[in-house]
Amino acid sequence: MQSTRSRGHLRRLLQQHREGVRFCLRFSAYTIVAFLVLYALDDQVVVPFTRRIAWLTHRLLRAAGVQAWVSGASVGIPGFAVEIKNNCNAIYEIGLYAAAVFAYPAPMRERLAGFLLGAIALYVVNLLRVVSLLALGRYWPGGFQAAHLYVWQALFLAVVAILWLGWTTRVHPVA
């Protein structure tokens, strides 16, 4: 009797939150798919992507008149250098953002536009992260670890959350 009632309650609850549960399931599934694809294509996609960030950072610094050098995924300025690794290339964060955007029930065109604009924004923010970490390492080495492991990492995820929330305020959800 008790179990029938609780089963009925659970069914009603699922019915009531159908859209939300569907989003959660889709979002989780897309996140796993994004991870699997990126992890499987590490050499083909992630490594060249990371090297491109190092190269772009180097070009940006050069354009600003800084004596910068680049070698593979490493980029440096006089007195300090960083090697860009998986944690700092934003590609997995872009994957997570894509999972959230494509799981949201919006028209496909809006989802594609949201993904592209968000991915570009995250890429640019990541370039800022690398440049700021280089500057921090050069002028305040003591603060580098905390900024790298804690502040920027969390800030970057907050940017992902804000971008997604910002995008959802501009799209028209479909049932």
């Binding site: 549960v21 989780s28 969390a154 959350a161 959800p173």
Partner: protein, 234 residues
């Protein structure tokens, strides 16, 4: 203040338009405060995880005599591995979990506390459920890491030796699992849980009730620039 939970996610999103500055400020302040608090709480949290994990040592560990100890905010597995051919026992230590740079708890709590339109009771429940689920994900990571680190070569004075129970398939499986949990552990679980919690406000009201989440004096969600009471909410 109307509750966004009563108007579904679209309602929450609409109400966010008018209150995003306050929400952002609350998030930044809560996150900074919680991150500082975490410096003191991380060792306690490590003790909590280790206490929950210890009863599972016989299942997780291949060799008897292994134990998990907490060193600051780090959980370390101390393993005694007998080398039958050499007639000796080596003791190795592997880090299973490091709470020093873990910001999942601070991030999830700050996001939930900053979310506009929820009552304190709703926030409290969301934080409780969120942290409970987060602990489960971290326990799962700890379990995967316990298995993963047992597949590493054992350093001995005779050179690195293959660990007992090693198989290529197991190494590949746990390499992927470890990478997945490591990737998700960078705050992704916190975001997943937060967005999941937001999504659960869906369907309660749905699109049609989006306006009800916007205060009468808030800007109208249609973007006209008028107050809701003078526009669509009239």
């Amino acid at each position: 203040m109307p509750s966004s939970g009563s108007a579904g996610l679209p309602g929450f999103i609409q109400s966010l338009r008018g209150r995003w500055r306050g929400a952002l400020l609350r998030f930044a302040a809560s996150f900074a405060l919680l991150a500082l608090l975490w410096l003191a709480l991380a060792p306690l949290y490590a003790h909590l995880l280790a206490t929950v994990a210890r009863p599972f040592i016989p299942i997780l560990e291949a060799t008897s005599g292994s134990r998990y100890r907490v060193d600051g905010s780090t959980i370390v597995a101390a393993r005694r591995i007998p080398l039958p051919e050499k007639q000796e026992v080596v003791t190795i230590q592997r880090t299973l979990w490091d709470g020093a740079a873990d910001y999942n708890v601070a991030l999830l709590t700050a996001l939930l506390l900053a979310t506009p339109g929820w009552s304190w009771r709703q926030r409290g429940r969301a934080v409780g459920w969120g942290l409970g689920l987060l602990v489960l994900t971290q326990l799962a990571f700890l379990a995967v890491n316990a298995e993963y680190t047992q597949l590493w070569p054992i350093p001995t004075k005779y050179g690195p030796l293959r660990p007992p129970g090693f198989s290529r398939a197991k190494a590949v499986l746990f390499d992927w699992l470890y990478a997945f949990f490591e990737f998700m552990g960078r705050g992704f679980f916190a975001l997943l849980l937060y967005w999941g919690r937001l999504a659960l406000t869906w369907g309660v009201g749905g699109q049609g009730t989006a306006i009800s989440a916007v205060g009468r004096n808030d800007p109208c969600p249609c973007g006209s620039g008028l107050k809701a009471k003078r526009c669509c909410g009239a």
